[in-house]
Symmetry: C2
DNA sequence: TTGTAGGCGTTATCAC
DNA sequence: GTGATAACGCCTACAA
């Protein structure tokens, strides 16, 4: 390990030579091809084992033009959202016999493009999550002929996309808060430019306009993390804004706001009801009302779909939408 | 995307032909080799762009015998531990110009071995976390000559390993609980066979023997998830065991126990103090005392070290230990 | 500065 | 059933 005895790894040729057969036969034996006599097969297996021979996957994929790997390019996602997504991707990939080539922490177009480019030839297709980039721009810079599936990108008829129904999810949450009798409902949105954030804010506005037309509409911007959620609520109150409910664009910000409120003597949900979006495990423990988005399922479906695209049987429809469910917990139970 | 115009991706040969030069020159131009006249370089770049040419990384790595990718094989880790680890790995990998080939959910030897085998030829080395497998067994089945770094495996002078100092961490937690005046301290251990679990249990026993020799020692087994933590505490109390403190082998189980206790009318830390291990973000929010293990740092260091091994300058020492810190929060603050 | 040609480790198409 | 041998796409001496 790290200093194995043979400075040079055994190749198919080494096995062939020692077994006294041709490389073609070794290849057949190793891949379980039927037309190899039991005798030769045994001999080859023995030699292979003694040499600790492992086929070179890179060479193999170059030869058969198939890597059995899929690339995954992600932005800098938060804790459990990230792990759930990757878990979903990895599980399904494993089931389908694919490896996962991961590249996260990619924000801007250049990084995403570079990540995908360097993957060409080592993956059969890629799954990209870049909610901050316009599909057109993105598509224009990707390697031609590489099956690509977009996660949580703008709906669009030209490229395969899977995403959450953010807007109707946000409508459901907001409507729930309105149903509680709250009127001073503020929305802590995600970063400007982020599509999910924008769609959720749109849902909030739509619901307010429809179900509480006379109530004030207040949107402030956060950065999807807990600190910015806390800061947003603090600033609003400091500015004298009346608040009896908070709908944050994701759970982490909601948790920041919720925690801050309690630490500053405000009762939740008594004085302020709080709701988030995502349903990360933390939400369960803190009793946070939220929209459950089934992140792992998203990952699994993405892999399934991409695999189909790779195999050439890309189902007709480009757009696939996953509907989130409202989960009511203590933070809005009065 | 998924249906690009050219059914066949452009290769270096296509570029060469259209630019009226040899493939060698294109290769040099693409790789920024100095000895290419500005004219030719320009022409080549233009053609490459027009063809949307992206080098085939697989072929390239076969040729230069370097993939710029590292494999990561993990067991089925829980939420934030997983995400923090992968984040740390990925960040450092990105900095060093490596891709990450991920394969998680691997429990038994066969799976781990297979995962690593199928990675040969597509990665330059692997990082393996398999706390349930003996190093000797594992090492025997790995492809020869593949740089390998083990995470949280048994200490050992023959193979490079990075791991937490589980035992002294457990001693610190237990000692803290004893210092609180608690005497009926139970330990909810991880799955038998898991090395981290075993070391932490050992630390608990050692601390009890040394600092509270007359107090009862109670160890029950959990599965590292919240439900088993809750069940463990419930069963202990149902059996009439006296309990005034719980030290769980990881945070998820501690959280399960803590939540169960509160839901069943037991005050924490009043009647029962609770402590965990890992310091996942959730612990912060629930005020759980725990050992902080800097998971992301572990990942980063692992990549750094493996990269060094790949480059052949493997530092002398095989074993690298990361010491965790005690973080005291409400769950043991009286 | 540029081209020729061999090789990286496998697979697959032919023959035999 | 087995063996040559030509790909796969790229890199790199070695020549020119």
């Amino acid at each position: 390990m790290g200093n194995g005895k043979p400075p040079h790894n055994a190749t198919i040729r080494d096995v062939a030579r020692l077994a006294g057969v041709s490389v073609a036969t070794v290849s057949r034996a190793v891949n379980g091809h039927p037309s190899v006599s039991p005798d030769t097969r045994d001999r080859i297996n023995r030699v292979a084992e003694s040499l600790n021979y492992t086929p070179h996957a890179g060479a193999r994929s170059l030869s058969i033009a198939k890597t059995q790997a899929i690339g995954v390019v992600l932005p800098d996602l938060f804790g459990e959202f990230f792990s759930e997504l990757v878990r979903g991707l990895d599980r399904r990939a494993g089931e389908l016999g694919y490896h996962l080539m991961l590249s996260s922490l990619h924000a801007d177009l250049a990084r995403v493009t570079r990540a995908v480019s360097t993957m060409r030839g080592r993956v059969d297709g890629v799954i990209i999550m870049a909610p901050q980039l316009p599909v057109k721009t993105l598509a224009a810079t990707l390697p031609a002929g590489m099956p690509t599936l977009l996660l949580n990108s703008e709906r669009n008829r030209t490229h395969p996309v899977i995403s959450f129904d953010n807007q109707s999810g946000a409508v459901a949450v907001t409507r729930h808060l309105i149903g509680l009798g709250r009127r001073h409902i503020v929305h802590i949105a995600g970063p400007a430019g982020n599509l999910d954030a924008r769609e959720r804010a749109d849902g909030y506005r739509r619901a307010m306009a429809e179900f509480a037309p006379d109530a004030p509409v207040t949107v402030v911007e956060g950065r999807f993390d807990d600190l910015s959620g806390a800061a947003a609520l603090r600033d609003l109150l400091a500015a004298g804004t009346q608040v009896d409910a908070v709908f944050a664009a994701n759970d982490m910000m909601a948790i920041g706001a919720l925690t801050w409120a309690r630490q500053n003597g405000l009762s939740v949900p008594g004085q302020i009801a709080v709701a988030g979006f995502d349903d990360i495990p933390l939400a369960h423990y803190l009793g946070l009302t939220t929209m459950r988005v089934h992140v792992a399922e998203l990952g699994g479906r993405a892999v399934t779909r991409l695999a189909a695209m790779i195999d050439g049987d890309d189902a007709g429809k480009k757009l696939e939408i996953i509907t989130p469910d409202l989960v009511i917990r203590e933070s809005t139970r009065q």
